[in-house]
């Protein structure tokens, strides 16, 4: 954990692609951190869901990823950078039901094509960019100030 002079808390987590047995542990830790600092429970659930979906995407599709949680008095910023195959067509990937999941992923209860749309639904701001063959970057913002929320 780091704290900058801008009153900002920062946590970094590394995710290993293909590590299905530990999938979800980082999101569980993120949820615990947010509970410890007393964030509103409805916001915690949204942040936890978005984190979990993002974490599962790295486990399922990428080689590795770095998840960063930044907490400011105004918002939660969840940034995820992965090294992996990237996404050829982001518009298609954002459609509910579109999935390139394997049978192994479906046996884990995932791969229904709901992940990225569900991250967007739970975020106040969501940016995604990807370079096919290199990796994908997600920036998820969840506002703590009620007036800023969507």
């Amino acid at each position: 954990m780091m704290m900058s002079d801008k009153n900002e808390l920062s946590h970094h987590f590394e995710i290993n692609g293909g590590d299905f047995s530990n999938a979800g542990r980082i999101s569980t830790s993120i949820k615990e951190i947010l509970q410890e600092i007393g964030i509103d429970s409805s916001i915690i659930v949204r942040a936890a869901i978005a984190s979990y979906e993002a974490e599962m995407n790295v486990v399922m599709y990428a080689q590795r990823g770095v998840f960063t949680l930044n907490i400011t008095p105004e918002k939660l910023l969840l940034n995820l950078e992965d090294e992996g195959p990237g996404i050829e067509n982001i518009d298609l990937a954002m459609k509910e039901g579109f999935s390139t999941a394997t049978d192994e992923m479906r046996e884990m209860g995932f791969g229904a094509g709901m992940g990225l749309p569900n991250i967007k639904k739970n975020a106040d701001k969501f940016d995604i960019s990807s370079i096919p063959g290199k990796g994908t970057s997600l920036k998820i913002t969840i506002c703590l100030d009620r007036t800023e929320r969507k």
Binding site: S21, A23, G24, R25, S27, T28, K31, S41, S42, V45, A48, I49, Y52, E53, E107, M108, G109, F110, G111, A112, G113, M114, G115, P117, N118, K121
Partner: protein, 120 residues
């Protein structure tokens, strides 16, 4: 409806959380797809599922589910049970299939996520 009443209706056994039978459950939802649980579930839900790996417990914890009922006689692995104990999520297991287990709870007055109740 209490977890004890749910246990009796579903002839279920308690896998973990023997001390939580007084827990009040107000709605439930059933799915084997955790993607759908994350998309459509709500905090406080009783989750019925046939997915018995640790992801079922992790998903339940993420969405603040109150308890899990495993259908088709399934039981979670040790990782799932350990996590459920840590997070205080009671686990039950019934031999009923998903349709029957959900139908029994619904017809006895436990609504789904939408709040819809059976017609009188």
């Amino acid at each position: 409806m209490t977890l004890k009443e749910i246990k009796e209706l579903l002839l279920a056994e308690i896998v973990s959380g023997e001390d939580c039978l007084d827990l009040e459950i107000t709605f439930a939802g059933g799915s084997d797809l955790m993607s759908d649980v994350l998309a459509f579930g709500k905090p406080g839900i009783l989750l019925l599922t046939g997915l018995s790996n640790a992801q079922s417990v992790r998903t339940a914890n993420i969405i603040d589910a109150k308890a899990i009922v495993y259908v088709r006689g399934k039981k979670p692995d040790n990782t799932g049970i350990k996590l459920a104990r840590e997070k205080g999520i009671p686990l039950l297991s019934t031999k009923y299939m998903m349709y029957t287990a959900c139908g029994l709870l619904f017809s006895n007055g436990l609504p789904g996520v939408s709040g819809l109740l059976p017609r009188k």
